[in-house]
Amino acid sequence: MAELTLVEAVNDCLHTELERDPSVLVMGEDVSRAGGVFRATAGLRDRFGPERCVDTPLAEAGILGSAVGLCMAGWRPVCEMQYDAFSYPCLDQLITHVGRYRWRTGGAMEFPLVVRMPYGGGVRAPELHDDSPETYYVHTPGVKVAIPSTPADAKGLLAAAIRDPDPVVVLEPKLHYRTLRGEVPEGDHVVPLGRARVAREGEDLTLVAYGSMVPLAEAAAEALAEDASVEVLDVRSLKPLDEEALLASAGKTGRVVIVQEAPRMCGYAAELAAILAEKAILDLRGPVLRVTGYDVPYPYWQIEDAYMPSVPRVVDAARRLLSFE
């Protein structure tokens, strides 16, 4: 076990998977010569050559579109989008082709590609370096989505995504790229998609979160420790979702607050709340609350803290729910 930051864990994973499977290649803007603007792909060019760690032209749809063709030629491309909001040009390829091509061939061909990108705010950056775009991906049929919150999961979920026969989008919380350190198993390490993680056990209330909202939820749980025993569920695999884990925790605590950084309307928290409203209605001891980003453009950074879900906001929601009768 090594102590790695979250981005080092991503880098470790890529080294491991390229070593393990000669059909895996990494492509994207500035991933090769520079090793990625966050150094997530550092060292790959030297170790595996410029043909398996490719600096592409500056064209996100071209990256994902040619990755579809690379899959048809037997490759497993891992595409980096440099930032969340710069992945939007590839949405068309993702929705019209990446999510449909396997189905279009009657299951005869597989498209085991990965799209990975840093996502989320709080990093004091100019606009469009702060988005949480998971809804666009989760809503798209034929695509799987994972979001790690720890270095170990950053490696394990990305490894699972790379080995998965289906296309997977992996969003990495850039806020914690370097601030979060943790034990990461060396070599082979796979965290299967479809399994949530109980980050903290509790009895009275469940905070459901993923990605950069998990440490926040844990801090909120800590802050609430005297009032209530709070469980923190790290969804981590948004699609496929570990519905059992969600319903089990809701069944146990009967009180659920969902924390999401993305804007509220049609966000992932809405999907989780809808599942609870359909399948846990008799377990619920109060409303299902959502603490999310607001339905506004991500603000300029001097006021971004007011936009981002905060410990006080989560605590406030939890207290309202705990005192609900």
């Binding site: 592409t56 690379l70 396997r102 009657g106 699609k239």
Partner: protein, 350 residues
Amino acid sequence: MAQVLPAECGLRRVLDEEREVDGLGERDLLELHRQMVLLRTYDERSVVYHRQGRIGTYAIFWNHEAMQVGAAFALAAEDWIFPSYRESAIGLLRGMPAATVLSWWRGHPAGWWNPLDYNVASICVPIATHVPHAVGLAWGKKLRGEPACALAFFGDGATSEGAFHEGANFAAVMRAPVVLLCNNNQWAISTPLEAQTAAKALADKAAGYGMPGVRVDGGDVLAVYEATREALERARAGEGPTFIEALTYRAAPHATADDPRAYIDLARVEEERQNECLGRFERYLGRLGVLSEEAAAAVRAEALETMRGGIAAAEAEPPADPELVFAHAYADPPASFRSDLAELRRILGG
């Protein structure tokens, strides 16, 4: 500024120049003819089948047979074809049953073929988005040291899309062994070429990508063949992609749902129909004394037979199983599919 070719000249031609393409024997010429007749028959019958309600909306490719056959004929078996809806039946040239393509237009699962069986990618419906796929395949084959090249068909309108641009640029940068064949039929549904681009020639786009741009008479099967063969030689020699502009004219509606009378010049259409590509090639073969009327009649009869068999087979397909709704989206589907399928069964059970 880069020099621009005038739109109507600088076209490579073979038929009208009474040239012969070296390396093409009599057998090849007759095979080219057979393939053109097969596609022509597929197209004409499909329009009838549509009117009879036996297939759905259909994108007509009448007078595009020369460029489709000419380009495909230059390929090796391991080379891939990336068709748009306009080349929906191109698989027939690779041994795909007519029933498969007819089923696609019938909206029946039997219409979704395995590209690996023919090295023919799925029909691309969204304009130009398959260009990067062809580029990626060619690039990927090259990376693996496999000889295969790719041929992508797309229209004049497609050159306006970002997907075409990004794909073409990737092709040149990666020196991908791909041929970008632009079917310039001078219309995008109702939008004429001059409303699509201000370029004198679409081939002028090639220089901007650092690849050769070639203009051929798209109604001249031998000219298209020759140009594609040269492009493939460059590709196999590691010199990268070529952009081929095959100039023709859409002498039929965009699709069965379209009524061009609202926007098109019918006199021009009539003129084009007089000069349609199959007749041109047959007259050329006639002049060479290669094709007898009997032989031509036999080829037509064979093609008609293929279509009769094809539509019969397509119509003999059992009704599609509604449960296929859940098939093939994922190699391993999410758990939620189980309950959804259960619901569907309950509903269908009545």
